[in-house]
């Protein structure tokens, strides 16, 4: 099963249309899309505007491929569920987001095991087919659902009125 999601905040119709077209061309594959507030409604795959958290997590755990925008919610939850991920960044020039930070996020996360980022909807459709046939290896070990111990310590110290020691060289 392919689970595709544009996150929860802004429409991303270019992405939804591409996944829907892929579903049209691959009728034997099961596809489900979370489309958020988009205008375009898929005709070749079932969809939801926004799934309840438990169902979202279940689909993420059970899918063979998670296709999403380059949102941190999608990336973090994909890592937590150990799903192989195929991501397409939103383009600010097409008014798909309010800033270009998804391009920056993409640069930072490109190359992580089990995660592939593409730049066009054509590449997205090609990779959907490829990754179902030849899945990526997802990084070994369990991915924690918690922040780094340093950050947790520092936040706890600060909230209680203390002064955490920063990690930066310069301070």
């Amino acid at each position: 099963m392919i689970f595709a999601s544009i996150g929860s905040m802004l429409p991303f119709d270019r992405f939804v249309r591409a996944v829907d077209e892929w579903a049209r061309d691959n009728p034997s594959e099961e596809v489900f899309i979370q489309i958020g507030e988009g205008e375009y409604e898929p005709v070749h795959a079932p969809f939801a505007r926004m799934l309840p958290i438990s169902e979202y997590r279940r689909r993420l755990r059970e899918c063979d491929l998670f296709v999403a925008h380059v949102g941190m919610g999608s990336i973090l939850q994909g890592l937590e569920a150990r799903a192989q991920m195929l991501l397409l960044p939103r383009d600010i020039a097409l008014r798909e987001h309010t800033t270009d930070h998804q391009i920056h996020t993409a640069r930072r996360f490109q190359g992580r095991p089990g995660l592939r980022i593409v730049e066009t909807t054509e590449a997205l459709r090609e990779e959907m087919t490829r990754l179902l046939r030849e899945p990526m290896r997802v990084g070994g070990g369990d991915f924690s659902t918690k922040a780094s111990p340093q950050l947790l310590d520092a936040v706890a110290t600060f909230l209680k009125g203390g002064t955490p020691t920063p990690i930066t060289k310069a301070g």
Partner: protein, 152 residues
């Protein structure tokens, strides 16, 4: 009667901001944590805790800004938190500002999505919150804030 634990307001917009906030939960130990976000169904993720929702004001217009401000004011007046922590985004600045005025300790953790520069709301937070941190050491250094680690 046993002494009540101090109250913490943990606030974040929907999506990635909220997921990052949840990854900080262990740091909230010792507090009675009250959450604020944008979707009712997030309550499922924080069983036993109060969750308030505010309207999505990511596409800023003056009216939604005002609505968020009024809702924030009501929540703050009711909960009177001792500390406030947020992972963004912009609408949550209202809580930082109100918290500051009401004597709460305030922390802005800039989203890990801001990998090359801090968000514009993070830059505002730098002036409003008691402490603002970035989750990328290079960004922290360039923006003159601290780096404490990341939610990863």
């Amino acid at each position: 009667m046993a002494k009540r634990p101090p109250r913490l307001l943990a606030v974040a917009s929907g999506g990635g901001h909220w997921v990052q906030l949840l990854r900080l939960r262990d740091a909230f130990e010792g507090f009675e944590t009250v959450y604020v976000s944008m979707f009712e169904n997030y309550a499922e993720a924080v069983p036993g805790a109060r969750l308030y929702t505010i309207p999505d004001a990511s596409r800023f217009d003056k009216l939604s800004f005002l609505k968020v401000g009024l809702k924030a004011l009501r929540i703050m007046a009711k909960e009177r938190p001792k500390a406030i922590v947020t992972t963004g985004s912009a609408p949550m600045l209202g809580f930082i500002l109100l918290g500051r005025m009401m004597g709460a300790r305030t922390l802005w953790v800039d989203s890990i999505a801001n990998a090359e520069r801090m968000s514009s709301s993070g830059r505002l937070a730098r002036r409003l919150a008691h402490r603002t941190v970035s989750q990328w050491p290079e960004v922290a250094e360039a923006e003159g804030v601290q780096y404490w680690g990341s939610v990863l």
